[in-house]
């Protein structure tokens, strides 16, 4: 679960990290009240679950109370990468020139089978850009998941990264961040910029915090932070059925299969066939007809989808159950788009018999995944070019 900046800051504050003061507002009037209370320049920052808020105009320095109000009017209601801004964080502005900006972060790192702590003197910019252009400017350090980060390790990392300031305070801040990451099951925590003022004291100006969805059961207190409106409506519905579902941009072929690996490969195959996948949908292992029916229903609802490619390799999953689910969708009139299937494995013969009985041009089975994907791609592209023709 991705957290907003203000929520990530709240968690870090609970672990003792020195975080810049700020308050959340939903209206320009509330922003004015907060700015008045702070009595100094403020920054108004859009709270949406996407990166690049600053570049999109979602973060504005506000030297006066009136300017804060004005900026709030601009930012609230704004569209950033498809998401509407409905709240802002108002923070006390910091005189950046009076200090330095650094980067620190912790990320789950498959390569070291633990968290890696990253630190860089290049703060305030996207760390990915630093990583791509000057990877030597980022210091990496594996954090022991049992002991957490120790102060001496934090000091070593800070020294290697070239941090200037009060070394003990900076190290202490990093240790507390590490504690927050481990105890709150973070997938990613970033403090960027980490501001070091003229006295050498660290202050977190912005954060990213993402929590492991598999561990949410032990963070029930944070469940109220989950915002379904920030997700695609079909993703919310998919979550209800327990599917792993991802909506993909600019696609026209709905893709579903049994298992993350086979669905990923199905996306690749659709691309090779000259169409674009509209989604990733894993029905999981051992799916019964009802689950397949729900999956087909869900994908059919997506107006981008012009044809559906189903790729099943039955192990625990029975091919005849898959066929039954698709047939049910057809019988109920839900299925209006062509379904091109490749079903192999357990109960393949029974599935073929069921589909032969129905004998609908909307549902067709193919001997391998390439033929099925090519058929779905051809149907989808044809439908797209027909609609494009209608518009002319």
């Amino acid at each position: 679960m991705k957290l907003h900046e203000y929520q990530g800051k709240e968690i870090l504050r609970q672990f003792g990290v020195n975080v810049q003061d700020g308050k959340v507002a939903y209206t320009p009037d509330e922003v004015r009240t907060i700015a008045r209370e702070y009595g100094q320049p403020v920054v108004v920052k859009a709270q949406v679950h996407v990166g690049g808020r600053g570049k999109a105009g979602g973060v504005k320095f506000s030297p006066t109370i009136d300017k804060a109000f004005e900026n709030a009017e601009k930012i609230l209601g704004m569209d950033i990468k498809g998401l509407t801004v409905n709240k802002v964080l108002v923070t006390k502005a910091v005189d950046i020139d009076a200090g330095v900006e650094y980067y620190v972060g912790m990320i789950v790192d498959r390569n070291v089978q633990s968290f890696t702590l990253m630190a860089s003197a290049e703060g305030g910019v996207e760390i990915e850009e630093v990583a791509a252009a000057t990877p030597e400017k980022i210091i990496h350090h594996r954090v022991d998941p049992v002991t957490g980060l120790r102060p001496y390790e934090a000091r070593e990392v800070a020294i290697k990264a070239g941090f200037k300031g009060n070394l003990n305070k900076i190290a202490d801040m990093m240790v507390k961040m590490s504690k927050a990451a481990l105890e709150r099951d973070a997938v990613l925590v970033e403090i960027n910029p980490l501001f070091i003022d003229a006295d050498g004291t660290p202050l977190a100006l912005d954060t990213k915090f993402e929590i492991d969805d598999n561990a949410m059961y032990r963070h029930q207190d944070l469940l109220s932070w989950r915002e379904t409106e920030a997700e695609h409506p079909l993703e919310i519905e998919a979550a209800k059925y327990g599917f792993a579902y991802v909506k993909l941009d600019n696609g026209n072929v709905g893709v579903l299969g049994n298992g993350a690996g086979i669905v990923m490969t199905s996306l690749d195959v659709v691309n090779r066939a000259g169409a674009k996948p509209a989604n990733f949908l894993d029905i999981g292992g051992g799916a019964k007809a009802e689950i397949v029916y729900n999956a087909v229903k869900l994908v059919s609802k997506d107006s981008d989808v012009k044809a559906i490619f189903i790729n099943i390799f039955g192990g625990i999953t029975r091919a005849d159950e898959v066929a039954k689910g698709v047939i049910q969708a057809l019988n109920e009139g839900i299925l209006t788009k062509p379904v091109r299937m490749r079903i192999a494995g357990t109960a393949e013969t029974e599935a073929k018999a069921l589909l032969a009985e129905v004998n609908s041009p909307l549902i067709q089975m193919y001997p391998d995944m390439f033929q099925a994907a090519e058929a779905a791609a051809a149907d989808a592209n044809k439908a797209d070019s027909n609609t494009a023709g209608d518009k002319k």
């Binding site: 089978q113 598999n214 032990r218 298992g259 086979i262 996948p277």
Partner: protein, 301 residues
């Protein structure tokens, strides 16, 4: 011969009385696996399908020869179950469970590695964890400790298979079988970001196995396990290796089902994986059927 397991491997099933545990115990026995007991805390003393159930792995180990355990415990208790088996002295632990919190896995994997090291120092067998979120492992015609469909692995072949994806493991297994090549041992290492055994850990076992002629590595986007495997192959392997990478068209930043299948920044991209395999002289198949063509090619060398 085979790696890690064979027809004499004695297996216990942790969580045998649960739905998944029960179904797969049955399928494993049908395949010929020597399942000797089950473990379900609170159900000790009962029997299931004619097998004794114990309250703890320790009890099972003191009553039976146990060479491996397979774990079907729900996510919240899965890492604990791994440590129970490892501390009881089971040398091979297979975690099937999907959705285990990553921090739990980090701690468990680290502890298992420490136990492995200590055991080997004392001249013991060590401890190896495979998974989580994996289909297990299977030596064709001999032993299955996992959840794969039995039919694909009846006949013994001479190709070793290692994969991060369950379904693609079956797909590749089926293709190898249809091509008349077949598999020696298949190891599903799992799709999570933190797992017990990586490609690079399995490769030396195949290199040393007299009954494996070539190895197929099925990777995916995310992480750098494939790059590490390529590095290992480049410097240490004499046997030919063929690779496949799933999810090459997936967009960056989106998690594709597997928690480990996500491209973060410039790490885990298909390009870096392809480049690493190229550098190690490992041919990479564009499609699954092409794996077969490439395997035939490397075998004819």
């Amino acid at each position: 011969m085979s790696i890690l397991i064979n027809k004499d491997t004695h297996v216990i099933v942790v969580g045998m009385t649960g739905r998944e545990g029960a179904n797969h115990t049955k399928a494993m026995r049908e395949f010929g696996t020597k399942v000797v007991a089950g473990v379900t805390p609170g159900k000790g003393g009962q029997t299931h399908e004619g097998l004794p159930i114990y309250n703890s792995v320790g009890e099972a180990v003191s009553n039976h020869q146990v060479d491996a355990s397979i774990i079907f415990v729900p996510p919240a208790g899965a890492a604990d179950a791994v440590l129970e088996s490892a501390h009881a002295g089971v040398p091979l632990v297979i975690l099937i469970t999907e959705g285990v919190p990553t921090v739990d896995m980090m701690k468990a994997v680290q502890e298992v590695k420490a136990l492995d090291h200590a055991s080997r120092e004392e001249g013991g067998k060590g401890v190896r964890l495979i998974g989580g979120n994996c289909p297990g492992l299977i030596s064709s015609g001999e032993c299955k400790i996992g959840i794969m469909p039995n039919s694909i692995y009846a006949q013994k072949g001479r190709i070793g298979l290692i994969s991060r994806s369950g379904t693609l493991t079956y797909e590749a297994g089926k293709l190898l079988q249809l091509a008349g090549l077949g598999t020696s041992t298949t190891v599903g290492i799992g799709g999570d970001p933190v797992i017990g055994t990586t490609f690079a850990d399995v490769l030396p076992l195949f290199e040393a196995d007299p009954d494996t002629d070539a190895i197929v590595v099925i990777g995916e986007i995310g992480g750098a396990d494939e790059e590490a495997a390529a590095e290992y192959i480049k410097h240490n392997m004499k046997k030919p290796v063929v690779a496949f990478i799933s999810g090459r068209s997936a967009p960056a930043g989106k998690r594709m089902g597997h928690a480990g299948a996500i491209i973060m920044g410039n790490v885990g991209t298909p390009e870096s994986k392809l480049a690493a395999f190229k550098d190690a002289n490992v041919p990479v198949a564009d499609t699954m059927p092409e794996i077969i063509e490439l395997v035939k090619k490397v075998l004819n060398k």
